[in-house]
Amino acid sequence: MTMANNEGSTPLGPSDYSLTFDTETTTTAEQRLRVGNYQLRKKSVLIEEGLFYDPAALSIKERRRLQDYARRHHLKLRTLSEFTQEIFYRKAYLLNALIISFNLPFDLSRLAIRHGSGKGKKMGGGFSLTLSENWPPVRIKHLSRTASLIDFASPGGQRTGRSWRKKNWRRHVRRGYFLDVCSLAAAITSGSHSLDSLGRLLGTAHQKTEAEHGQELTAEYLGYLRNDVQVTYECFEVLATRYESFKLTATPVSSILSEASIGKASLKEMGVKPWREVQPDFPAELTGVIMSSYFGGRSEVHLRRVISQVAYCDFLSTYPTVSVLQGLWGFVTAKGIDWSDATEATRVFVESLKLGDLAKSATWKKLAVLVQVEADEDLFPVRGAYAESSSALSIGLNYLSSDEPLWFTLADVLVSKLLTGKTPRIKKALSFTPRARQSNLKPIDLLGNSGYRIDPASNDFYLRLIEMRSFVKQHKRRCNDEPVRERLESEQLAMKIIANSSCYGIFVELNVQEYARKQPVTYFSGDEKARTANLASIEVPGRYFHPLVATLTTGAARLMLGIAQSLAQKEGLDWAFCDTDSMALARPVGMQEAKFIRLVEKVRGWFEQLNPYSSGDELFKLEDYNFELDASHKQSPLFCFPVSAKRYVLFNLGSDGKPILRKASAHGLGHLLAPYGKDKAPSFIPVPRVALTKIGVRRWQHDLWFLILQAALEGRAELVDLGALPGFNEVAASRYAATRPRLLKWFAAFNRGKPYDLQVHPFGFLNAYQTRIVAQLIQADILSLIDERTGGQGKRPEAFKPPRAVSPFDFDPAVAVRDCFDRDTGEAVPPEMLCTYREALIRYHLHPERKFRGGDYTDSGPLERRHIRIPEVNGIQYIGKEANRWEERMHTGEDPDAVIRYGVAGGSLDQLREQVATACSKFGVRRVARAAGFSHSTVLRFLAGESELQAATVSRLQVAIAQLSSQRGESDAVLAQAREAKRT
């Protein structure tokens, strides 16, 4: 959904009309429209319902059946073209109706007669869909799995009359109002849903039914289609009503794209102006410093691949809590921020700090400080490409030494001091204070309830919200009246969403704008120098961008974990893993259980000194997983088996010695299509005793973890036999949608020569696969042969790159895989080259943790922090916020452009030339140039000193050299394996 217009006038919001529609398609690659159903409503009263169809996609018999059905059920029947003209444009567009669907980008793309790439700042990187020649196209830009920007393009031409132009008025461009129920559901329920699960969750009058797709059109199938539209509308009504209860009247429901939208709507309702509006002259250099200190949540494994008994503890509403402790609401509502040098004071503060000082809330109010350190074996978050064979970046808390001074939050400096005992060398410190409070802040009655009144000028919004939520939850626990309990549950969930969405993410929102041509960009980072780069992808701050609040929030959250770790170590406890706001405290071997429980309580109790809430909820609480499944609330031994960051499982041991999963991660599994459903689950794995929604995984993922645990419990942790799981000997596939022009381009060869109706369209589904290691061995054989014949002097072909296999969609995965091809070359890839689920997941439980030492495939036990030295010459690269396109990378393999690389710091170009020259002599100039993505002559000119490359270009060269080196290393390893195999 989009706001209708950002061209100088306030959008009206949708009219009383709404158009809800759904499409059903063929089950083959192009997923062509067969038939659709729509409901046109005015103020929720149905005024017209109809069916539409593509005549070319139906047989004569099917068309007759359709006509017959429409007549019997008094439905309008239109062709696709008639539907787009008469209903979509003449009604919905002209009447500013709210256009509703579930998975709206897909349905809209089924109506298109052609498409192009979206243009401009807002829609660059998206699609422009032409639905009809005489009407404005629909533009769609994919933002995330559940959110897209959608609007009508401008009709073009001079549309503002002269008299208006004289007054500097501009005619409103009709952008339309689109609502994807999938997006709204994700925002309001804080979860991802199918139409089926959403209908069940919301308890709509109609529920989604099952149907067999790809068969001949029948009356039953048409009934199923109509029911889908009805369920979609009912879901919309329930969600819209729920949103209405939030009483965020300044933001219409049609503008809610995500939870973050709700956060922004909350601030807007209170009259809070964005920081960049109240302080537009804040120095860019300082913004660069602040952003260079920003890191996300800390997520680590410590006791890798060992079963340990743990107490799994979680901080109450971590981000809102640390915001409260630091008084960050004052920054959010201020007229701006001031800053001053605090170097000496900070040195004294850090030097004299004891753990007990952090138990005082007054200490936390002093943490709004950024510190420039000359790191020398100090413990800091370090962002780097830890994996040898990949340029993917991750963050690890490691011992850092750097010639270049680096900025961190004071909280991070304190973590280093707590965990090492050593005070880092502080070069400079800047203390930040909020200016006076903004005027025109308005009190609100949260959820329309005067009992939930919040005055942003005098209350800390987050404190009030979390306390209210606690009271509501307590009230619900005491209440026996079911409708009241439901209402209270809905209220506490709404409060949770508002708190989470308004305290962090929106303050570090950066949206990538993509341009057809590179644009000159000036950027800043920690050294406050202005640098330039030419980039096609440019990050643009979101409306409420306030990086100081964001970096102080995450820094303080990392401090909470650091304190927990320090306390645990002091008490002789260990810890198995941590994940942003939780830590699994581990019972050391030999410690009595009673002592373990007592010490855990001691650690948890320490945090109560800091608890800012009056609701009585604990700050560092034991999660429900630590207790028996019955209602006894008795603590029961909980175990964990962590593999790598965000990849772990928590379980109890049943009386039969078998694991009972309590919580598991789907990390590294979520992108795969399920090889089987609950109904085909193997009988040799016990039915989960805990609901899968509570465990957090699907049935097949549960079963995978069960086998991993079973192997570990039987002392064969490396050997997990997945062969017996149903479907695991089939080819493993990931499904995603062609959400960007770049992804759709992979199908250029497939689409070539086909009429538009038979091409893969934007947002059409595609499958991605992994290639088998044996394919690499075959290639290695070829390399070996070349080496044998040339005595190792021969020109090696390109280092082996396994094909990146994709296929067009088909409902039947076995059929889809037959059309598999390499997206880089277009060459067919035989299914034999593709990994099965078994092969793809054979090392799932061995996934290395490269951020630390001791984390290789079969390593287990405590990991050790690395010692990282950043050299002066090009040791630092400037990158954008790395969260861009993480979904795409997850599904389709690494995307080097997912991280925007701006340039490098420090060093001389001569030294760089030397580095590049060495690489060129090793790999050849053409290969280096090709790997870096530019011309051979560019590299030659640089080597000859005839050109000065942009820093960002040099950065690409360095990454290319690193990749070539690692591929050479990989090829050598594979080659050695192949030779070894030949010998034996």
């Binding site: 006038s9 306030t10 002209l94 500013n96 005489n134 009407w135 404005p136 009709p155 008025w169 005619r171």
Partner: protein, 169 residues
């Protein structure tokens, strides 16, 4: 795009007007002026003026001559009316079928149709603009009297009967 500037029905035209005016509840911003018909409003929220107030501001007459049947059919037949009403009547006329509005061949049937459409539009306009507000006002007055004086507030006030509903036996 031709389709956007020529919406095919009244609601679409209203919607286009609301966008032009910048609000779905437009009203003349001059205190005391209750003009809220989108057809008679100009400008952009919050600086909306009804046509008559805009004319007054520009020093022009607020009373105009309307071509009753339209210039193309009879350029001489005119009637004096208030500016706002003129805008509304012209808007109604825009919704006549093009053939009736222009009648290039002088069809007597279409001319007769136009003659009938004129009083028809007048009746609608008078009803909407002059009668409806009155009965709405009367109903609001009754509610107020009921609240202040009770449900049978008229009893004992000595008011003459307006209508007698009872048939005399």
């Amino acid at each position: 795009m031709q389709n956007e500037s020529q919406p095919s029905n009244n609601e679409a035209r209203a919607e286009a007007a609301f966008e032009r005016l910048g609000t779905r509840r437009p009203k003349c911003s001059v205190p005391g002026c209750n003009e809220s018909d989108w057809r008679a409003l100009t400008g952009k929220h919050p600086h909306i003026l009804c046509y008559e107030h805009m004319c007054a501001e520009q020093g022009r007459s607020t009373v105009e001559q309307q071509h009753t049947l339209g210039r193309k059919i009879d350029p001489d037949m005119e009637v004096t009316m208030a500016g706002n009403d003129h805008r509304i009547m012209d808007s109604y006329k825009d919704q006549w079928p093009k053939e009736t509005r222009e009648n290039p061949d002088g069809s007597p049937a279409l001319l007769a149709a136009a003659y009938l459409r004129v009083p028809f539009d007048w009746l609608i306009m008078i009803a909407k603009r002059y009668l409806e507000p009155v009965f709405l006002w009367l109903e609001a007055l009754d509610s107020l009297f009921c609240e202040k004086l009770g449900r049978r507030w008229w009893v004992g006030l000595g008011l003459p009967d307006i209508y007698s509903r009872r048939v005399e036996q």
